[in-house]
Amino acid sequence: MGDAGNGETFVEARGLRREYRVGPSTVHALDGLDLDVRRGEVLAVLGVSGSGKSTLLHLLGGLDTPTSGSVLVDGRDLATFTSRERTVYRRTVVGFVFQSYYLVPSLTAAENIALALTFQGTVGAERRRQATEALRRVGLEARAGHRPSQLSGGEQQRVALARAIVHAPPLLLADEPTGNLDRSTAEDVMALVREIHHDLGATVVLVTHDQEMASRVADRIVHLRDGRLTKEEGAAP
């Protein structure tokens, strides 16, 4: 495994609670969770479906707001952010990778990456250059003009990864990135995640239910169950 972080806390969740109203009942997706993520480490969050993994990631990524509790990233409390600041936070600090890739089907691989750059205000030749560079980093330069439907699952996830890291975010959030991939492809993608982590020095929070995969790539593993952390394991061997 690579760098285990420099010990400084980059992401800090305190008493994180997220409840959803589903009809007459209340679902406690996260139930008073405390978590520290050190700068530069790869943290795997393990848990079964419905344990609150994705909710945690959405809260860390500023896509959602907690019912109570706080998320501090680099010392700044996301709860104090305005809508505009949350958007800027998602643009500049966070890179998202999802299980279902979530590429825009009408756009080519290069255009999907360029789209993220557009939202960040990068345009023209510089946008093209950065998109090409991101595709080169994930080994898909030759597939720049292909649409998602013309790419395999592994290739689509690599494009999604390129899109997530094109702006060199300090925080990469990956939600079951290998959940839809076969073993061999999944290992390729995870190797890529490690490589990018190494090159960019990004802090990675990886949500998965695959214990073996988590052990192989993560510096640290935490277990999530019913919205609470139940166990923490140290750096993987």
């Binding site: 809508s83 998602r90 998202f96 979530y102 009408s106 756009l107 993220a116």
Partner: protein, 421 residues
């Protein structure tokens, strides 16, 4: 833009049908306004073509001490700032024009030799040219008259001579008039065509220089008779009427005022034309309103299409938010899509409106020809500003229609959107 085009590309049929709705609406709008403009242009054409807009007709006041409308008065009027030309108005009916055995009774109208009859005279002269400087006895014939005199083409008439036979009363020294006949041989300098929608009888007109008209018998009888009726001597009578042409229509008011101050009556066509224009503005607005209603209905189609698009692309909207799109970005995205539909529809509408107008004009002209009308009727006018305004209006209406769907898209909760598979 990429995302907007991609979104539209994915639902080509739906977007195509929506744009078709805008096309039909903007086509109706552009062709209806073009029709109003075309009819207005047709109605104004004779005035413009004959230079009547910049014309003041003057006549002497009645009464003993009324100023005489003579050459001296005309010279003073011509010296006024803004005046292009002032000349006596001569119209004499019943003049016989003959070319060998071919004869016709025509009306002779005097026009100034020194400047073209009208600003756009060159457009009306189909063969030959306007009068040459000097005092050569020349004439301009209307196309139907040239045909009546046996000229196969207008060009064949140019340079040939025709005989004019005029007769009338010439005022003597005191209270006597002499019946005089005069034969005049004139060279045809040119042949002119009449603006469309001019009354048919205008085809039997020969235009003569004012200096030639002065020699036509009977030309001065009417004002002399008027003076005699008023108890004054017949001698020294000026002209019954005169025409003053100004350079620009803005010169009309001051020149008219100055002429009135000289003691003459004035009459212009501009006031009548202004009333006509007001009427056409009302027609324009009414037709544009009908077209706008059609476009607003098409706008409802755009709202529908984009709302469906928001629902279909719910997840895509969530992705965009996750990768950094702001609410504003999504508003711009959907407004761009609406604008593209509007632009496509607007341009399509212009093409459709143009094509439909062309076909209609073709049919109307074919019918008009079957009814013996020889002039081509331009029923529709498509000035550049109308085309640009149609496209712009179509885009504006479409963008307005896109506002609600755009804000719906901006309000999408990214978490819910990403959860939807």
């Amino acid at each position: 833009m990429l995302l907007a085009l991609g979104g539209l590309r994915r639902t080509r049929l739906r977007v195509g049908l929506t744009a078709l709705g805008v096309t039909i609406a903007s086509g109706a709008l552009v062709s209806m306004v073009a029709f109003a403009l075309g009819i207005q242009a047709q109605a104004e054409a004779p005035f413009k073509a004959l230079g009547l807009i910049n014309v003041i007709r003057i006549s002497p006041e009645k009464g003993d001490d009324a100023a005489a409308l003579d050459d001296e008065a005309l010279a003073r009027i011509e010296a006024l700032p803004g005046v292009e030309v002032a000349y006596p108005e001569f119209r004499v009916r019943g003049i016989e024009i003959a070319r060998g055995e071919q004869k016709a009774k025509v009306m002779a109208v005097g026009v100034p030799r020194q400047v073209p009859l009208i600003g756009t005279a060159d457009d009306l002269i189909v063969a030959g040219e306007y009068f040459t400087p000097g005092d050569a006895p020349e004439a301009l014939l209307a196309v139907p008259l040239a045909r009546e005199l046996g000229f196969e083409t207008p060009e064949a008439a140019v340079g040939t001579t025709v005989d004019l036979n005029a007769s009338g009363l010439a005022p003597g020294d005191a209270e006597t008039f002499t019946f005089t006949r005069k034969d005049l041989t004139v060279t045809i300098a040119g042949v002119y065509t009449l603006p469309s929608m001019m009354p048919g009888r205008m085809g039997r007109v020969v235009l003569l220089p004012v200096d030639v008209m002065k020699d036509i018998p009977g030309i001065r009888a009417a004002p002399a008779l008027d003076r005699l009726r008023d108890g004054r001597g017949g001698a020294g009578a000026g002209y019954a009427k005169a025409t003053v042409r100004v350079h620009r229509h803005t010169d009309l008011a001051p020149v008219e005022e100055a002429i009135q101050a000289m003691g003459f009556r004035t009459r212009t066509l501009l006031s009548r034309l202004e009333k006509m224009r007001t009427f056409f503005v009302v027609v324009d607005v009414l037709l544009a309103a009908v077209g706008t209603v059609a476009l607003v209905v098409a706008g409802l189609g755009i709202i529908n299409t984009l709302l469906i698009s928001v629902l279909e692309r719910y997840q895509e909207i969530g992705i965009c938010k996750a990768i950094g799109a702001s609410d504003g970005d999504l508003v711009v995205l959907f407004l761009t899509e609406a604008g593209i539909i509007g632009l496509l529809g607007g341009v399509g509408g212009i093409v459709l409106g143009r094509a439909a107008s062309w076909l209609l004009e073709l049919a109307v002209n074919a019918y008009a020809r079957s009814q013996g009308l020889t002039t081509h009727l331009d029923l529709f006018a498509f000035p550049l500003w109308l085309l640009a305004a149609t496209a712009l209006f179509s885009v504006v209406i479409s963008v307005l229609a896109g506002v609600y769907p755009a804000f719906r898209a901006a309000r999408v909760d990214p978490i819910q959107a990403l959860r939807r598979e």
